[in-house]
C-alpha cells in the first residue's frame, strides 16, 4: 500500500486522505464518517442500486453515489446536508413502505440496517395506505438458509456474492419492478461451502440461518474476535456466545461464528467448515476429569497432575528418551508448542515426541487449505519436525502423554488400540470425547482454540495472535497451563514461552 498515491479531499469540512482508487464511501468511513448503505459491500462489485449512500459532491448538480464515486484530489463531499438527509429519509421510507415490520419475530432485530438507519433518520409517520405486497416468508433456498422475501430490500448482495465470489450463481432476481424477488433456479438450491456468508452479508432479516433462527436475540450475544482453527488459513472470525446467566449442562453457548474482515488473510468471508466450528466449541466436550473413561468427580486437578508428574519421575533418567512418548498436535498455539519443546525435548530430553493431527483434505481454491490444522507452520517454527509415530515406536514405551485424540484418525482401531493398551501409563489431554478416553488412565479436559489466547502461524507464514473469545467451561484449561504445571511439579524450567 505504501507505493499507492494518497489523495486529499474534504468530507464534511474535514480534510482527509485516502488511497487513489478508494471510493468516497470508504474514504469517509476511514475518516470516521459513516455513510448509510445496503447494497455496497467492499468484497463485491459496486451495484449502486439501494440509493442510500447518495451524497453531495461540489460541482455536480445531482446527488452522487458515494459507493461508486472514486476520490479525486480536491473533491469536496458533503454527507450531512439537509438534501442528503432528505434523500436518505426518502429511500428509507420507500424500503419500509414495503417492509413487513415484523422486527419482534425477526432474527436480525438488533443488528438490522433498516432499524439502525430508521433510528438515525426517523421517526416519521407511515404514509402508505396501500396494501403491501405479500410474499413468501420462509422459502428454503439451500443449506441452512431461509429466505423471507417480504423483508428483502433487493440489495442483491447474496446474488452477487454467489456470482462473483463462489462463482456458483445459485441465486437470481426474478420478476420485475415491485414484484422482483430473489430466488433459486428450479431445483437447484444454494449448495456451496461458503453459503453461510449470505447470512452475514444480508443487511436485513431476509436471509437467516436455519440453526440460528428463533434461538436467541442479537443483543444477548457477546462478540469476540478469534482465529479459525479449522484449516491452515486462519481466517478472522467472530465468536458470538452467551454468558452471564446460568446454563444447564449441554446448553448452547456459542450461537454462531461469523466472518471478520482481514484483507491479508481471508478478505471478508469464511467457509462453512469454519462457521460450523461452533459445534467444535459446544458439542462432544470432555467437561471433567475422567478415569478409565468414566467421570471422576472426586478427583482434583492437582492430584491428577501429580500422578502424571509421578509417572514421569518413575521413568529413570537415561531411559526416558525412549520410554516416554508424547503426542502433540498442530492446534496447539505457538506458545504451547514452545513450552512443550522446552519441557519434553530440552529439559526431559525425550526423543519420541510425535504429532497426530486431523487428516488433510482437499484445498477448495478459495479459502480452505488442504491442511485441516491452524498451526502447522507454528510446529515447524517451534523446532519440531512433526510426524506420526511409526508402528513399533510405541512398543517399548512405558509412559504416553497424548495431547488430542487424533491418533485414531491416522491408525485403524485394530492397530492403535492394542499398541496403546500395551503401554503401562497413558494420559490423555483432550477437548472432545473420543475412542481413546477408555484407554487412558486419566483424561484431562482441555480448552479449544476459541477458549485460548495465543498465536498461530498460517500456511502463508502470517503470525496471528488472538485472545480468548469464549470462557472455557469450569475445570477446563489450555494445554499450555498443563505443560507449565507439569514443568513446575518436576522442578524444571520449560523455557521462554515466546520462543516461536
Amino acid at each position: 500500500m505504501s507505493g499507492m498515491k494518497r489523495i486529499g479531499l474534504t468530507i464534511d469540512g474535514s480534510k482527509v486522505e485516502a488511497f487513489e482508487g478508494t471510493n468516497v464511501l470508504r474514504a469517509a468511513e476511514q475518516a470516521g464518517i459513516a455513510i448509510p448503505h445496503f447494497c455496497y459491500h467492499p468484497g463485491l462489485e459496486v451495484e449502486g442500486s439501494c440509493r442510500m449512500c447518495l451524497v453531495e459532491i461540489e460541482g455536480l448538480p445531482k446527488l452522487e453515489l458515494s459507493c461508486s464515486t472514486v476520490v479525486r484530489e480536491g473533491m469536496v463531499v458533503r454527507t450531512a446536508t439537509e438534501r442528503v438527509r432528505q434523500a436518505r429519509r426518502d429511500v428509507l421510507e420507500f424500503l419500509l413502505a414495503e417492509h413487513p415490520l415484523d422486527c419482534p419475530i425477526c432474527d436480525k432485530a438488533g443488528e438490522c440496517r433498516l432499524q439502525d438507519y430508521y433510528d438515525r433518520y426517523g421517526p416519521y409517520a407511515a404514509r402508505m395506505l396501500e396494501a403491501r405486497e405479500r410474499r413468501e416468508k420462509k422459502a428454503p433456498i439451500g443449506r441452512n438458509l431461509i429466505l423471507d422475501r417480504e423483508r428483502c430490500v433487493l440489495c442483491t448482495r447474496c446474488v452477487r456474492f454467489l456470482r462473483q465470489v463462489t462463482k456458483t450463481g445459485e441465486l437470481g432476481v426474478f420478476e420485475r419492478g415491485v414484484r422482483s424477488e430473489v430466488g433459486i433456479f428450479d431445483g437447484a438450491p444454494v449448495d456451496n461451502a461458503y453459503s453461510g456468508n449470505l447470512v452475514d452479508i444480508c443487511p436485513v432479516g431476509a436471509i437467516t440461518a436455519g440453526d440460528f433462527r428463533f434461538k436467541t436475540r442479537a443483543w444477548f450475544l457477546e462478540r469476540k474476535p478469534s482465529v479459525c482453527p479449522h484449516c491452515g488459513r486462519g481466517c478472522a472470525i467472530t465468536v458470538e456466545s452467551i454468558k452471564g446467566y446460568p446454563m444447564a449442562n449441554g446448553t448452547r453457548r456459542v450461537f454462531r461464528i461469523t466472518a471478520r474482515e482481514n484483507t491479508a488473510v481471508n478478505g471478508f468471508w469464511i467457509c462453512d467448515l469454519g462457521r460450523d466450528g461452533r459445534h467444535d466449541i459446544d458439542d462432544g466436550r470432555v467437561t471433567g476429569l475422567m478415569k478409565k473413561g468414566l467421570p471422576a468427580p472426586g478427583l482434583s486437578w492437582t492430584k491428577a497432575l501429580a500422578e502424571v508428574a509421578a509417572a514421569v519421575r518413575a521413568v529413570p533418567g537415561p531411559g526416558r528418551a525412549a520410554e516416554i512418548a508424547v503426542v502433540l498436535n498442530s492446534r496447539m498455539t505457538c506458545e504451547e508448542l514452545a513450552l512443550a519443546k522446552g519441557l519434553f525435548v530440552a529439559s526431559l530430553g525425550l526423543s519420541k515426541v510425535f504429532f497426530a493431527d486431523r487428516k488433510p483434505g482437499d484445498a477448495d481454491g478459495l479459502l480452505l487449505t488442504a491442511d485441516r490444522v491452524p498451526n502447522g507452520r507454528g510446529a515447524l517454527a517451534a523446532g519440531f519436525a512433526p510426524r506420526l509415530p511409526a508402528p513399533g515406536e510405541l512398543t517399548s514405551v512405558r509412559l504416553l502423554l497424548m495431547f488430542g485424540s487424533q491418533l485414531t484418525e491416522d491408525f485403524a482401531g485394530e492397530t492403535i488400540v492394542p499398541a496403546l493398551a500395551a503401554i503401562p501409563s497413558r494420559f490423555l489431554f483432550a477437548a472432545h470425547s473420543g475412542p481413546l478416553d477408555r484407554l487412558a488412565d486419566t483424561v484431562f479436559p482441555v480448552a479449544v482454540p476459541a477458549e485460548k489466547s495465543g498465536a498461530y502461524i498460517n500456511f502463508e507464514g502470517i503470525r496471528q495472535a488472538f485472545c480468548r473469545a469464549v470462557e472455557p467451561p469450569p475445570g477446563v484449561v489450555p494445554e499450555g497451563d498443563i505443560i507449565a504445571f507439569l514443568a513446575h511439579s518436576l522442578g524444571l524450567n520449560p523455557g521462554d514461552p515466546d520462543a516461536c
Binding site: 439501494c50 440509493r51 446527488l63 426518502d90 421510507e93 420507500f94 395506505l129 432476481v173 419492478g177
Partner: protein
C-alpha cells in the same frame, strides 16, 4: 410531408430492397466515407452536423463517437438501439420497415469512423415481425459487398447481428440494452464507467438510435453544413415526428428540427377532428411532461423543449382531446411506469408502484388533495435519485399531470 428526404422514407412498397435503395443513390455516402475519407474526418463531419440523439436523450452523436478511446486494446462495438418502446413513438419502426438499408449504411459509416468490426441491432421484442425483413436486408447488403469482411473492396469489414429483445421497456436504456445483449437480465448499470469506455462485453461501445444512424448517410453525402441548414445550428437536421391521438392525419412526419409543435399538429397532422379541441399534448413520448394548449408554440428541438419544462425525447407527439378525464391519463401513465420499472433501484421500484397504487385507489375509492400532494412527494423521492433516467422519465410526467390538472383531479377524486 414537406422537406421530404426521399432516401430516408421512400413511399412505394418495394423500396426497402437494396436495388431500390441503390437506385436512389444508396451506399454512395458509405463509399465516399470508406474510400475517400479518413475515419477521423467522418467523425468530425458528423460532429459538425450537430445531430442530436433521436432516441430521447438528445446527446450529439458525433461527440458520443469521439468518446471512444483511440488506443483501445479490446474490440469496439456498435449497438443500434431499435428497442423503440417509448409510448407514443413509432418512427424507428417505419425506418426498419421502409428503409432498412439507410440504417445499415449509417451503421457502416459509424463503424468505419470509430473503427468497429461488429455491430448489433437490438430489436424491440414487439417488432419481431420486422426481424425477417431486417435479416433479409442484411443478407442483401452482405451479398453485394456492403457488409462482411471486405466492404466495397476495402480492408474495412463489418458484421451485423440482429438481437431481438423480449419486451421490456427498460432495455431501451442503453446500459440495460447492453446487459440484455450479453444475455443477462435487462437492468441498467451504474455509470460511470460509460459505455464509450466500458460497454458491451466490457469493451468500448457506441450506442445509437435507429433514426440517428439512418440520418448519417445524408450528412456524409451532402456535408455537415447541409444537414445543419435543414435544422437549427444547435440541433441539426430533420426529425421524424410521430403524431397520434386526436388529429385528423396521424402519422410520421419528417420535418425540420425546430418546427413549432402547433404547426406539426395543426398544419401537418390536420389538427383535431371537427368539433373537438386539444386539451393537452405529450410532446416527446410519455416521459415528456405534458403541455397545455397555450404551450404549443414551442419549437420542437431539444433545448427549446427543455426550456419549456418538458423534453423533446423521442418526438412522439400524443394529442389528447377535450373530454378526456385526466385522472385516466394519470392512471395509465402511473401504471405504465410501475409495470415497466425494472426493480433494480429502490426509489423507482417502490416509488412507481406506490404512486400507481395511490392513483388507483383514489380513482376507484376517491381521495383528497392530500393524496395528490403525496403523489408529488413520491415523485420527488424518485427524481434525481435513481440509477437510470427511468426515474426522471416516470416522475416528471406524473408531476406535470398532477400540477397542471390539479383542479380537475381534485374534483374527480372528491366524493
Amino acid at each position: 410531408m414537406v422537406e421530404n428526404e426521399v432516401r430516408l422514407l421512400p413511399d412505394d412498397d418495394g423500396s426497402w430492397r437494396l436495388e431500390a435503395y441503390l437506385r436512389q443513390g444508396g451506399y454512395q455516402a458509405a463509399r465516399k466515407a470508406l474510400t475517400a475519407m479518413a475515419p477521423e474526418a467522418v467523425v468530425a463531419e458528423v460532429c459538425g452536423a450537430v445531430i442530436r440523439g433521436r432516441g430521447g436523450a438528445g446527446f450529439p452523436a458525433g461527440r458520443k463517437w469521439g468518446f471512444i478511446p483511440k488506443d483501445a486494446t479490446r474490440p469496439k462495438y456498435l449497438c443500434v438501439n431499435a428497442d423503440e418502446g417509448e409510448p407514443g413513438t413509432f418512427k424507428d419502426r417505419l425506418i426498419l420497415l421502409r428503409s432498412p438499408h439507410a440504417l445499415l449504411e449509417g451503421m457502416l459509416i459509424a463503424a468505419f469512423g470509430v473503427g468497429i468490426r461488429t455491430a448489433f441491432i437490438y430489436l424491440r421484442g414487439e417488432y419481431a415481425g420486422l426481424a425477417a425483413r431486417l435479416e433479409e436486408a442484411i443478407a442483401e447488403a452482405r451479398a453485394a459487398g456492403y457488409l462482411g469482411p471486405r466492404v466495397l473492396g476495402t480492408e474495412f469489414g463489418l458484421d451485423v447481428v440482429v438481437h431481438p429483445g423480449a419486451g421490456a421497456y427498460i432495455c431501451g436504456e442503453e446500459t440495460a440494452l447492453l446487459e440484455s445483449v450479453e444475455g443477462r437480465r435487462g437492468q441498467p448499470r451504474v455509470k460511470p464507467p460509460f459505455p464509450a469506455t466500458v460497454g458491451l462485453f466490457r469493451s468500448p461501445t457506441v450506442i445509437n438510435n435507429v433514426e440517428t444512424l439512418a440520418a448519417v448517410p445524408g450528412i456524409i453525402a451532402h456535408g455537415a453544413s447541409w444537414f445543419l441548414g435543414r435544422g437549427l445550428p444547435t440541433d441539426g437536421g430533420t426529425r421524424l415526428f410521430g403524431v397520434s391521438g386526436a388529429v385528423r392525419r396521424p402519422g410520421v412526419y419528417e420535418l425540420a428540427v425546430g418546427t413549432p409543435l402547433r404547426t406539426i399538429i395543426e398544419v401537418h397532422a390536420g389538427g383535431p377532428p371537427v368539433g373537438r379541441s386539444i386539451k393537452a399534448v405529450v410532446p416527446g413520448g410519455l416521459s415528456a411532461p405534458i403541455l397545455l394548449p397555450e404551450e404549443l408554440d414551442v419549437a420542437m428541438d431539444v433545448d427549446s423543449l427543455a426550456k419549456a419544462g418538458s423534453m423533446l425525447g423521442s418526438a412522439g407527439i400524443v394529442v389528447i382531446p377535450d373530454g378526456t378525464p385526466m385522472l385516466d391519463v394519470l392512471q395509465v401513465t402511473a401504471r405504465f411506469y410501475a409495470h415497466e420499472s425494472c426493480g433494480k433501484c429502490t426509489p423507482c421500484r417502490i416509488g412507481t408502484s406506490w404512486i400507481f397504487k395511490t392513483v388507483d385507489r383514489i380513482r376507484s375509492a376517491g381521495g383528497g388533495p392530500e393524496d395528490l400532494d403525496l403523489i408529488l412527494r413520491l415523485a420527488d423521492g424518485i427524481r434525481g435519485r435513481t440509477l437510470c433516467p427511468f426515474g426522471e422519465g416516470a416522475a416528471l410526467p406524473i408531476r406535470a399531470l398532477v400540477t397542471k390538472f390539479r383542479d380537475e383531479l381534485e374534483q374527480a377524486v372528491a366524493r
